[in-house]
Assembly symmetry: C2
Homo-oligomer: 537 residues x 2
């Protein structure tokens, strides 16, 4: 069927361009004679002057504006087009528009606001669209305040969306883990780099790009990883992703397509990372973590063909995968296992030497994911993923279908900050701040949580505390979700350790110290301490 | 099992933070006494001074630097840390570092470059990592030049990745569809808005955010859609996505989870959109398009429970879904069908009145996707998706697991450009440029492609030409892939219409006119015209 010969714009719509090209020139001239550049009618409210009765255009226009104000399409504060512009688009005299505007101004609905133009200043009272139609149970998922702080959040065994829900709750003091000092975001450097990027970008940079990301950023990431993580790679091997969250989702997809349906994870380990893999259909195989990191013998025994781990700074315990475990793990990988290395906050160290990335030891056996979330800001949503050569095509395809690649401007700005050394300078700067806050939190824990055990404070942006049984020897059955709920009731957020456990274990809290000032840390820990005393009677 | 009680940083790593918190204060004091802010060792090359022999630190450091230069971790142009910074991080005297630097400078490997600091200037010749290990067949997928321009690209029936591959090829003149005038990107307005955003953002804006997107952008999008597309919505219903590509991927996922596995699409229709749905596992059901748009009777007959279409400006034919078809389609939706409205370039009109969005007529029956790709630039990767209320939770969850939400800065800048009216001004500006280019392309087609039929030139950023049989009456079996390959061999890119067809049909080309200047359009069409004459003998 020759659909194309009929696939013309219907003549009722006023187009003649379906005719053979011999007419095209005549058409173009006719077009040029009409109002230059404006289409027929205006996008603004989809005004089509053809619907106005002859001689009644002003009344018609005023009526259309009134309806739009009444039904909320033009809310208070909305700006109307300049009368000259709207007149051109509708191909009416400017007087038609100014007169319609004048009528609405007289009835008090719009007003001139000088440089801001003409804006809507009053609207008849009308129910907001859907403002009341939203079922309450959806609010929980999207993070509105549940009835009674923390009740829904910490009371149920369902952990789906709990981190987002906690994040969306108001609080005085936020001790959630995983966030650097956001007040230190280098706004001036960023703006300077953005100016240079906008001045230097080619038009093609604004078009559809390489799904792997901008070449400039892939090259900068290679330099960053070589200098700071001991990893040698070619820019062609780097795929820029929207943070480690997307990296895990894409890896989960390509592994599943390869027949791998079970992935081992650290227990305790990141709830978010685990959920990411479960969402794309994987069965999770928990593997215990001890002082030397992931228990590789248990990994072998579990039979999973892939493992996700945080070797440089285990989340949430802070353990470092030690030398012997590294050798065991790489031997497991050599036997066909796939290692996913989440290098999530390797750059934040205080009291210990740097740990090289697994990927720097075995380029071919390790999928490596990192991001700027802990270096600069999670909200940038930029990370990178390196996979073994035999998985690269599948990864690039997965990234293409995920979103066609990351946004360009953030990528180019980051590339400049990495190339110029400003990102390393920023890291040195925030590391000092983070270290002072870590120390302040340790002092606060000593003061307000005597007897608590502190884990993983030598590096990172958080530490973990666990609570032994109270003096006297009896086990007290403390639940860390109750403790977190009690703290939240007094305006202090923290993650119960049990959120990040698969196998049950002693109660604890995961406490971020990097985001807020020292006095808040002390106050927050004091609140937790008094809540703990109340719970223990 | 009490894993936490053992999950401490091993003491060999120098940490003492696993002890009960009663020691924390003493530790913190000890920390403060050591080099302020620096960890033990440097992230730079993961240098650990503990590995240096006593009295041999300078030689050790020089050796580590030489190795890194030799193995490519420090390529020519890489910058070394300032000697003061590195000395602090390694806790050595500055003389150790300056002496090591001096030795490498003497051997000609590094040099001082004033304000740039100390950089690598020469490296021993060494093979680049993996530079030769890359199999050639992967280059095709990732877009390197195939052997003989266009041979692999247009010769095979496999359309996977062809659009990306064509995009990555060099050309003199690019007539690929789907790209606005990128040279008109409002760099000055963007930078001004970015400055205001960076000045006004709160620290929390840089943290993990709402997976639906920034509230400011969701509110701005609601205003934009109300003014320009007749759509009334609440900001809580808007999900910001990484362009329509991601919107289709997410919709595909949530529909599949709901048991919908077959999606109807327009034929011809966008190859990219179709592939997006196929990638997430959908079977594609082609539905013919004619002058009135999608054939709704054929949609009903096909039995798919969801349909993706471009009602305002059908890609690639340019047809507008007419009133009767709209009524038929909405009646199909009322019977339980799911409509996915891709409103991809509704804003670009020249010779016809605006067409309201389907979503504006039936808020509850239509999933609506739009983006700034055609308004501003595809490389921004920002769009929006509205779904019926009963699918909103599933969509928000899918977006969360896709990437935790779009990057913040681009969102906040866009919100400002929408709220201030600058985006509407930009649209008026580019529409004039696009219209002139459309006219130039129509003239060029008249001149160089006599007898070609032009479709869909009343709106959009591209038009489609089809070729009737040559004068004399005999069918000549012209293949549009041959024509596109012949044009590419002379440096002109265009999409063969057959790429976007599912059911075979007459040959044609889809020709974008918005991206380049008028003289290129004429030259590009001239090349296509001469290629056509050669192919037809």
């Amino acid at each position: 069927m020759d659909v194309m010969s009929r696939s013309t714009v219907p003549s009722v719509q006023g187009s003649k361009t379906s005719h053979p090209a011999t007419n095209a020139g005549a058409e173009a001239s006719a077009d040029a004679a009409s109002a230059a550049g404006a289409g027929v009618g205006s996008d603004f409210l989809q005004l089509d002057i053809g619907q106005a009765p002859p001689g009644g255009r002003t009344a018609w226009l005023a009526d259309r504006l009134r309806s739009a104000i009444a039904d909320g399409r033009l809310p208070v504060g909305a700006r109307l087009p300049a009368s000259r512009v709207l007149a051109e688009e509708l191909r009416v005299t400017r007087g038609v528009v100014t007169e319609a505007y004048r009528r609405l101004a007289e009835s008090g609905q719009i007003a001139g606001r000088g440089r801001l133009g003409t804006v809507v200043v009053a609207a008849p009272a009308a129910p907001r669209v859907r403002a009341t139609a939203m079922p309450r149970d959806q609010d929980r998922v999207r993070g509105a305040v549940p009835p009674g702080p923390g009740a829904a959040l910490f009371g149920s065994g369902d952990r789906e969306g709990v981190v987002d829900a906690l994040r969306a709750l108001p609080s005085r003091i936020d001790l959630s883990p995983g966030v650097p000092d956001l007040a230190a975001f280098p706004r001036t450097s960023w703006l300077r780099a953005e100016r240079a990027v906008l001045a230097g970008a080619t038009p093609a940079d604004f078009g559809y790009g390489d799904p792997r990301g901008a070449a400039a950023l892939r090259t900068a990431v290679v330099g960053w990883l070589a200098r700071n993580r001991g990893i040698r790679a070619d820019p062609d091997e780097v795929v820029v992703v929207a943070g480690v969250a997307q990296a895990l989702g894409l890896l989960g997809q390509i592994l599943a397509a390869d027949g791998i349906r079970r992935i081992a994870v650290e227990d305790p380990g990141s709830l978010g990372a685990r959920q990411q893999l479960e969402y794309v259909g994987h069965e999770i195989v928990p593997v215990p973590v001890d002082a030397a990191g992931l228990d590789v013998a248990a990994l072998r025994a579990g039979g999973a063909r892939a493992v996700l781990l945080t070797p440089a700074h285990q989340f949430p315990t802070g353990a470092v995968l030690d030398g012997e475990r590294r050798r065991e793990l790489l031997s497991w990988a050599a036997d066909g296992g796939t290692v996913i290395e989440d290098d999530y906050d390797a750059e934040h160290r205080y009291d210990r030497p740097p740990v090289p990335a697994l990927r720097s030891l075995v380029p071919e056996g390790v999928c490596y994911a990192g991001s700027v979330s802990k270096l600069l800001a999670p909200a940038l949503r930029v990370g990178w993923l390196l996979v073994p050569q035999n998985r690269l095509d599948a990864l690039v395809t997965a990234k293409r279908y995920a979103d066609l690649g990351n946004g360009i401007l953030t990528q180019l700005v980051l590339a400049r900050l990495m190339d110029s050394g400003e990102l390393e300078r920023h890291l040195r700067h925030v590391r000092q701040r983070h270290r002072r806050r870590r120390d302040a939190m340790l002092r606060a824990i000593e003061r307000h949580l005597p007897g608590a055990h502190v884990h993983g404070a030598a590096a990172g942006l958080h530490l973990t505390v666990t609570f032994g049984d109270p003096p006297g020897g009896a086990r007290d059955g403390l639940r860390d979700t109750d403790l977190a709920a009690a703290a939240l009731a007094q305006g202090v957020k923290a993650h119960p350790l049990s959120w990040h456990r698969i196998t049950p274990g002693p109660p604890g809290l995961v406490l971020g110290y990097a985001a807020g000032p020292a006095h808040e840390l002390d106050e927050g820990i004091a609140v937790i301490g008094s809540a703990l005393r109340v719970l223990r009677g």
